[in-house]
């Protein structure tokens, strides 16, 4: 067996293993979705808790009006929730927009905290910690500034959280508001449904594990207080906090009927910056938590750490191997002599990939069609390859940050004016 054969074998085993993991998660996720879809998701409570909705916002004037209006439209008892917008060192007219909304809704409890570059501007975790100091609710709900949650989202999340003491947090589903805006948002829409929602559902179904997605989730105030707030060093505070919640022995549940719509990056360079931040954050969390793989007391969390390790290490290296071998073979520099390493094996892998994604689109309305199927194929050969670039870039940046002892720099996703006429903006 040659060196190239060895690499090929590794790539085949790694890719097929990851594929089978995803298939298994999709099967679990699908069953969970079908079960949930037969209900309305509500669990009536005797007493509804006070909820503080935290919305960190930095230069969000393009989207913040729509977001706050959607939050004000929740069907949750009006007197039992407050909205705290942390206008974090914004240089645009966000403060004016927010003040205008406050003036128009004097009967509603809405707090706007305007920070300057001394106290704020240090990223989402810092903004959330600032908001936490003013929060009076026993339950915290977090929404990004580009979200338009559906009216029942908060009620569904809170009801499910409070009806089960084992739950530390409940997360909802997020969808792409501007999916028709560009090719990249179409890809993000499919990726979100397949790899964030369906995989989360599968992980919850099989292992009672979910990772907080950063928006559209509720968490017990007591937990956040106990862990001392959000880690300001973590670029993906959502994954980091999920792991800390696991370690406290709580579960995190997915309630897919609680939906929020969010704006995704429409331009490639913005997408690259956002995903690099996520990948850097996840690599940081993985580095910090990998030790728990060997700690029996960490419980089911160990599975999640392994899952992240598999996604980031196994998938990245196997994709690099297979792509390199493919290019070298085409150029005539390498030749795989391994028996059974053929085109058909790859065709089978593509088939499984496409079907796996299609199943997640099938459960959604207006997502399952021939256009989506073609997009999935296109996505496999373009968008998926960009993921390798993102992770490599993130790994390199993390390495440089560690070597040169650079402070972790928060990149705030730039918002766009939504040009897509088909997506609704106003929830009223």
């Amino acid at each position: 067996m040659t060196f190239i054969d060895g690499l090929s074998l590794y790539a085949i085993i790694a890719i097929w293993s990851l594929m089978l993991i995803n298939v298994t998660l999709s099967i679990g996720g699908f069953i969970y979705y079908i079960k949930i879809n037969k209900t309305n998701g509500h669990v009536k409570l005797k007493e509804y808790p006070m909820v503080s909705i935290l919305v960190p916002a930095h230069n969000e004037s393009f989207v913040i009006r729509k977001t706050v209006q959607a939050l004000l439209a929740f069907d949750y008892p009006k007197e039992l929730y407050e909205i705290i917008v942390i206008n974090d060192n914004s240089t645009d007219d966000s403060a004016v927009v927010l003040k205008e909304i406050q003036a128009k809704n004097p009967e509603r409890k809405m707090i706007v905290i305007n920070t300057d570059k001394v106290s704020g501007g240090k990223g989402k975790s810092n903004a959330l910690n600032i908001g936490l100091t003013l929060a009076s609710g026993t339950v915290l709900a977090i929404y990004d500034a580009d979200n338009t949650p559906e009216p029942n989202a908060l009620t569904l999340l809170v009801e499910n959280l409070m009806s089960n003491d084992k739950l530390g947090a409940v997360i909802g589903k997020f969808r792409t508001r501007n999916r028709e805006a560009s090719l990249i948002t179409r890809f993000v829409n499919i990726e979100t449904l397949a790899y964030q929602c369906m995989n989360q559902a599968g992980r919850w179904f099989f292992f009672k594990l979910c990772t907080i997605p950063g928006t559209n989730f509720v968490v017990r105030r007591s937990i956040i207080d106990a862990i001392g707030g959000w880690d300001t060093k973590a670029l993906s505070e959502d994954t980091e906090i999920s792991f800390r919640i696991y370690r406290m022995g709580y579960q995190i549940m997915l309630m897919p009927l609680a939906v929020t719509w969010e704006q995704e990056p429409q331009l490639l360079h913005i997408w690259l910056k956002q995903r690099t931040r996520w990948a850097k954050g996840n690599l940081y969390v993985l580095k910090e938590n990998f030790k728990y793989v060997f700690d029996k007391s960490a419980g089911a969390m160990r599975l999640d750490v392994l899952y992240y390790a598999a996604v980031y290490v196994l998938m990245m290296t196997s994709l690099i191997c297979s792509d390199t071998i493919f290019i070298m073979s085409v150029l005539g520099f390498a030749h795989v002599t391994l028996g059974g390493f053929s085109t058909f094996l790859w065709i089978m892998a593509v088939l499984v990939f496409v079907l796996n994604v299609l199943i997640t689109l099938a459960v959604e309305k207006n997502e399952f069609n021939m256009k989506s199927a073609l997009l999935i194929l296109l996505m496999l050969f373009t968008y998926s390859k960009l993921w390798v670039v993102v992770v490599l870039n993130a790994a390199l940046q993390s390495f440089n940050d560690a070597i040169f002892k650079r402070e972790v720099k928060w990149y705030k996703t730039e918002r766009s004016v939504e040009t897509n006429k088909r997506i609704g903006g106003d929830n009223k």
Binding site: G340, F344, L345, M348, A362, N427
Partner: protein
């Protein structure tokens, strides 16, 4: 009186003592089935000596002797069960218990190798002397049946130099400036002073000496035939070249065999049909067809898989009227359980020497392959020219290359014809083959497949030369599909069916939910999406 009592007492003790020894001797006699030959060897086998014992075991098997294997230590108490003992000996020392046991018996013992036999000569009361010397280079001279004297050099760790007046001696050896006889025999004792499995001549000498040693009559022992085999003829071979060779063999009137390589796919190609057409012509003109055994290319081959492959290959040929009557397999298969299991389906087996180390092991205790009742055709041995076969004590195969220039082949065949080892047509013997779905039987000139008589006469058949090879993208994909891991295919197929089923359920549920029933909760989402 007292003296008399004392005498009775001493006598009684002596009788009891002798009786006890007999009881003890009876206890250590092992219950070993009587076989033709006992092959014993020194307790510690090194790599080289292992190869030599393995070669002797092979020779005894080829000669058709049921053989029991044992170290000197393990042979304690079983010597009495054998009339003939071959002792491979390379050391200075022979265990006293072995000598003691041997001294009480009268069976024949042949010592092979350069070990010191002085102690053995002593207990056999033979008036010879032995000096065992370490040596690396020995010059041999020997007369094989009807052949001129063959002289050559051989390498050996040790040589035993026996001196004396021997009733029978044959061949000479020269080590440095010392010269003595190579093979000697006196009463129940025989000795071959040197043995090396890598030397074809020494193996031939051993074979001849065993033949003479075992032959109970005054006249010369039987002579076994040799078979010309055109080895490893691949399907789709140049048929014109084959026809030239077949025509030549027909003209010379020489019996021969062709070993065809197994074929597992593409048997329907016109080239295969044409190849089989030529083979059928050869078969009709006296050529026997052998099937080459499949290559075991995995560390853990599965018996069922190999048998299945043989069945596919057998069917590929027999469906075109070509009937393989024997399996050509590596020699090691006769020592290995799986090999024996595969060979058991063929009455006639042709063995080839491969480059691998001989897998014989003393742990096998006896040559199991003997009990399977095969007609074994072993590889011929020659020194120099391939056609100069040294073996006539068991059936041998002379492997020739069909790619050789036709004139050179003719010269080779003529030389073989002149050999003292006769040629024989394999169609003169009975054969049987069992595969997964077919039983071939050949007896008294009648060949049957699954009980139905098959004609061996050549009748040309028609086939379409125009053939759709299916070599486009789809064809290549089909080939690829066939080669893939079936388990993975099964998994992918299962996943696909399950996912399509899931998609169906999801679409049904969505239609029910959104198309036929309005859900107020979804209004906002709908608004968002539209």
């Amino acid at each position: 009186m007292m003296f008399k009592r004392m005498c009775y007492f001493v006598l009684a003790i002596c009788v009891l003592f002798v009786f006890q020894i007999d009881i003890h001797a009876a206890e250590i006699t092992q219950d070993v089935e009587a076989r033709d030959v006992l092959l014993v060897y020194d307790n510690e086998l090194l790599d080289l000596t292992h190869e030599n014992v393995a070669a002797i075991a092979d020779i005894l098997t080829y000669m058709g002797y049921s053989t029991h294997y044992s170290t000197i230590k393990e042979s304690k108490g079983i010597l009495n069960n054998f009339t003939h003992i071959v002792y491979y000996h390379e050391s200075d020392f022979i265990e006293q218990s072995f000598l003691d046991e041997l001294s009480r018996l009268d069976n024949k013992i042949m010592v092979v190798g350069g070990g010191d036999v002085s102690s053995l000569l002593k207990i056999l009361k033979l008036p010879f002397t032995c000096t065992s010397i370490e040596s690396t280079r020995v010059q041999l001279s020997y007369y094989l049946d009807g052949k001129k004297e063959i002289s050559m050099f051989a390498k050996s760790q040790r040589v035993s130099l026996l001196k004396g007046d021997f009733p029978y001696s044959s061949g000479t050896i020269m080590v440095g400036n010392q010269s003595t006889t190579l093979c000697v025999r006196s009463e129940r004792f025989s000795n071959i002073a040197i043995f090396d499995s890598k030397s074809a001549l020494l193996k031939a000498i051993l074979t001849q000496q065993i033949t003479l040693w075992k032959w109970p009559y005054e006249n010369a022992p039987n002579i076994f035939a040799q078979y010309i085999v055109f080895d490893e003829v691949y399907p789709f071979f140049n048929t014109q070249k084959m026809m030239n060779v077949i025509s030549m063999m027909k003209k010379l009137g020489v019996p021969y065999a062709i070993t065809v390589m197994p074929i597992y796919q593409n048997g329907e190609y016109p080239a295969m049909k044409h190849f089989c057409e030529v083979l059928r012509y050869a078969q009709a003109n006296g050529a026997a067809i052998f099937l080459k055994a499949p290559i075991m290319n995995t560390n853990k081959p599965i018996l069922e898989d190999i048998n299945k492959r043989i069945s596919i290959a057998f069917t590929a040929y027999s469906s075109y009227g070509v009937y393989p009557i024997a399996l050509e397999a590596p020699n090691n298969w006769i020592h290995e359980k799986m090999g024996q299991d595969i060979l058991r389906r063929f009455r006639t087996i042709v063995l080839t020497l491969d480059q691998k180390e001989n897998s014989w092991s003393g742990k096998a205790v006896y040559n199991t392959i003997y009990s399977d009742g095969h007609q074994i055709i072993a590889p011929a041995l020659s020194v120099g020219d391939i056609e100069d076969n040294l073996i006539s004590a068991y059936p041998t195969a002379l492997f020739l290359d069909i790619n050789t220039n036709i004139d050179d082949l003719r010269t080779q065949i003529k030389k073989i014809q002149e050999s003292t080892v006769p040629l024989k047509n394999l169609w003169a013997s009975s054969h049987s083959v069992y595969t997964e779905d077919k039983t071939l039987s050949y007896k008294d000139d009648i060949l049957t497949i699954n009980g139905e008589v098959q004609s061996l006469e050549f009748v040309p058949f028609k086939y379409n030369i125009e053939y759709q090879y299916n070599r486009g993208i789809i064809g290549r994909m089909a080939d690829s599909f066939a080669r893939e891991n079936k388990k993975l295919l099964f998994i992918v197929f299962g996943i696909s069916i399950l996912f399509i089923f899931f998609i169906g359920i999801a679409r049904y549920q969505n239609r029910k939910k959104f198309l036929y029933k309005s859900d107020s909760n979804d209004d906002l989402g709908e608004e968002n999406r539209n």
